[in-house]
């Protein structure tokens, strides 16, 4: 895209701020003509893919913050597959994919190389989906945190293994239907458990910065990336990215669902410095969980004639507990 070309970027919807109403300096990185397009157009993501959007927001903001001196290590998963079908690549930054479970360690290695070479201007980002982060890559992630390696790791969380056909991950929410948690017989989708709250686990490592965000709020997300890039050491960003294919939601509802998950309280949006929560994004219009659940076929078994209102109640209770715990 030529530097002089005008990018029209209209963000619409409830309570959203249209970029054209803001001063140029306050506009998102995405709205700027000089954005890096770190993951450029032409990739093979599905229509309405939240992960592609999240990666673009995060990486363009990180590219801006590092003045283009950024290297990315990517776990196996949708993001890797849809961006690099041989012999093409969407990546406009140096990018490496090794295997599924090692993106945080590969990122650590890149960071170690920069230190050894005295290239502290070159910054490192590790990224993967929820499977690559909270499950198979978790050991490497925890090791990277514990050593406080100079890496920003970003998890694009779409709550299941989408690349392999929507199987349950450690980040799949209770009651959700996946390919191996189907609502068959007495089993109403994924089980209720304690979950694996990786942002909290990251905070327990005492790393300098942990934040969550959604693709519905690019201003907030970009600000968090910028904050993270202004720090050194291990930093963790957990981004909520709806998946129309895996969730059975409409492609045009990706932003709506990302907004609703926050407005219901099911996904707390916050940031934490040195293991302590320092800021939470307040809910603007408190919304019952049904509004978030109903547009998604993965929750269809909870509603209608043979529905499970008691499960919806349990999900509402989870949201209420988040609201109380974080002061959302």
């Amino acid at each position: 895209m030529s530097a002089g070309q005008r990018i029209r970027y209209y963000q619409v919807g409830t309570n959203a701020v249209g970029n054209r109403l803001l001063d140029p300096e306050e506009r998102t990185v995405q709205a700027r003509t000089d954005r890096s397009n770190a993951i450029t157009s032409g990739h093979r993501a599905c229509r309405g893919c939240g992960e592609a959007l999240g990666a673009r927001y995060v990486l363009d903001a990180a590219m801006r913050a590092s003045e283009g001196k950024l290297v990315a290590a990517n776990a196996t998963g949708c993001l890797e597959v849809f961006s690099t079908p041989f012999p093409e690549s969407s990546w406009q930054l140096p990018w490496i994919h090794s295997v599924f479970g090692n993106a945080p360690a590969v990122a650590s290695g890149i960071a170690a190389a920069q230190r050894a070479k005295g290239r502290e201007d070159v910054r490192v980002i590790g990224q993967g989906g929820d499977g690559g982060t909270v499950d198979i890559g978790f050991g490497c992630l925890s090791g990277m945190f514990e050593r406080n390696d100079d890496v920003l790791y970003v998890c694009y969380d779409n709550e299941a293994y989408m690349n392999t056909g929507v199987q349950r991950s450690g980040a799949t929410p209770p009651a959700a239907r996946t390919a191996n948690t189907k609502p068959i017989g007495d089993h109403p989708g994924n089980q209720f458990g304690q979950g694996k709250d990786v942002p909290r686990i990251a905070m327990a490592h005492g790393i300098p910065y942990v934040a969550t965000g959604t693709v519905a709020e690019p201003h907030d997300l970009e600000r968090k990336v910028e904050t993270a890039m202004g720090m050194r050491g291990a930093r963790y960003l957990h981004v909520f990215v709806p998946c129309p294919l895996g969730w059975g939601s409409a492609s045009q509802d990706t932003i709506k669902l990302a907004r609703l998950v926050k407005e219901t309280g099911l996904f707390p949006v916050f940031e934490a410095v040195d293991g302590e929560v320092t800021e939470v994004s307040k809910i603007r219009r408190r919304t019952p969980v049904e509004e978030y659940l109903k547009p998604q076929r993965r929750y269809a078994h909870l509603f209608g004639e043979h529905g499970h209102p008691e499960i919806v109640e349990r999900l509402q209770a989870m949201a209420d507990r988040n609201i109380e715990e974080y002061g959302l």
Binding site: S108, I110, R115, A116
Partner: protein
């Protein structure tokens, strides 16, 4: 300068002399003394601009090396046994991405039963991972091979595994000459990566490849290993010119010229083999040895040339391919297509069982007299094996063989099923 020192300490010094920029390791016996030695040297400031990363697993150790090497840093790690298996996925990745990482493998058995002693089942299990595999016969050769390994790796953009027998070499004290830093600097130029993750020239590494090009990519990996058949002897010759002693290469014969019987082996056991051959030569037996220095790539031509005049070949190996027998032997036989000679395989030294001179003498005598079965297990306690087989045949619960046998021996108390 010759110094009396532990093999691991010497390897640590040799690796530091090669100026790795990123060293990453996870502890596992018998590799520990090497990486502890490197840690000490880095902390003492012997090596400037080196990041020593302590990780949470071998899988992470290899992954950190992958990231570091892809970013253009000279990277090193060391492991053994279960650790090598745990990094297996990353091992294939490092080779496939063409990253010139050097790794010491302190050869150790793979369980169960868990066993920390030496054999070659670890490196043999990863022989087709795409890594070059060099085997040291002595601690001096282990030291020299590390200096050569970085050069071979970087010249070919391929990772190199230097295999040295755990404990037998790693923990043995002997006279070793560790090359001087300045001499290594002259021998080994700074690492200039063929590809690097550099913001000034962004590239994608590790893209997905479908059926349209996958086979070609795999063939190119094979072609690179074939190229290594030239590079390994080249670098060995350069090493000899620079340091004045022969080390490494593809294979080396010992009293092989007129030998009717040739013993093929790799690693430290060659010392005992050569002593046994000397004794048999004094008795007039035409026997020699072929030491394999490079197992991957496998020097088919050199092996064929060395063995084609012999009447029989005995491959002695410290690994067992369960269900078929020898691993090295199968490779040796590929080199002998169309040649008519007796071929024997002896599995020896598993889990650290000593391979003694008298045992070898008996084995070699049997080979020379063509009294051997095609597959032989040296010093096997057949009584013990028969007892366990009999017990199983009688319908006893299978349980773990190890515990059952230990009960028979009286080491473990308790009920025998």
């Amino acid at each position: 300068m010759l110094r009396q020192m532990e093999g691991s300490a010497a390897v640590a010094e040799a690796v530091v002399a090669c100026r790795p920029e990123v060293v990453c390791a996870y502890p596992i016996s018998p590799q520990t003394h090497i990486v502890e030695g490197i840690s000490d040297l880095v902390r003492a400031g012997e090596l400037e601009r080196c990041e020593y990363v302590t990780v949470e697993s071998e899988f992470a150790a290899m992954s950190v090396c992958i990231g570091a090497s892809a970013a253009g840093a000279r990277a090193y790690t060391a492991t053994a046994s279960q650790g090598l298996l745990f990094m297996a996925e990353a091992l294939y990745n490092a080779a496939g991405l063409g990253l010139p990482i050097v790794m010491t493998l302190a050869n150790r058995a793979i369980g169960p039963p868990i066993n920390i002693w030496n054999d070659h089942s670890d490196s043999m299990s990863q022989r087709d991972s795409g890594w070059i595999q060099l085997y040291a016969e002595t601690n001096q050769e282990a030291v020299d091979l590390h200096v050569q390994a970085f050069k071979i790796a970087e010249r070919l953009s391929l990772p190199v595994m230097v295999c040295m027998d755990g404990f037998v070499l790693t923990h043995a004290f002997e006279q070793i000459d560790v090359p001087e830093r300045a001499a290594v600097d002259a021998f080994l130029p700074p690492f200039e990566p063929a590809q690097a993750l550099d913001p000034a020239d962004p590239m994608t590494i590790g893209a997905m490849v479908g059926p349209e090009a996958f086979a070609e990519v795999k063939y190119l990996a094979h072609a690179k290993q074939m190229q290594a058949l030239d590079t390994i002897p080249e670098v060995a010759a350069e090493f000899e010119a620079a340091f004045g002693r022969p080390s490494g290469g593809l294979a080396r014969g010992y009293r092989i010229e007129d030998a009717e019987t040739v013993v093929v082996a790799l690693g430290s056991v060659l010392g005992t083999i050569e002593d046994t051959i000397d004794a048999m030569r004094e008795d007039g037996v035409a026997i020699g040895a072929l030491a394999l220095k490079s197992f991957r790539p496998f020097p088919l031509e050199e092996v064929r040339a060395a063995l084609q005049g012999a009447k029989r070949v005995l491959v002695l190996e410290k690994a067992l391919a369960v269900g078929v027998g020898g691993i090295v032997a199968a490779n040796v036989r590929m080199a002998l297509s169309g040649l008519s000679l007796h071929g024997y395989t002896a599995i020896a030294g598993l889990g650290g069982r000593p391979i003694t001179g008298p045992s070898l003498r008996g084995l070699f005598d049997d080979a020379v007299a063509d009294r051997l079965e095609p597959l032989t297990f040296l010093d096997m306690d057949w009584e013990r094996v028969e007892a366990e087989l009999k017990r199983l045949a009688a319908g006893g619960r299978s349980g773990a063989h190890a515990e059952n046998i230990l009960r028979e021996v009286g080491v473990v108390a308790g009920r025998s099923h």
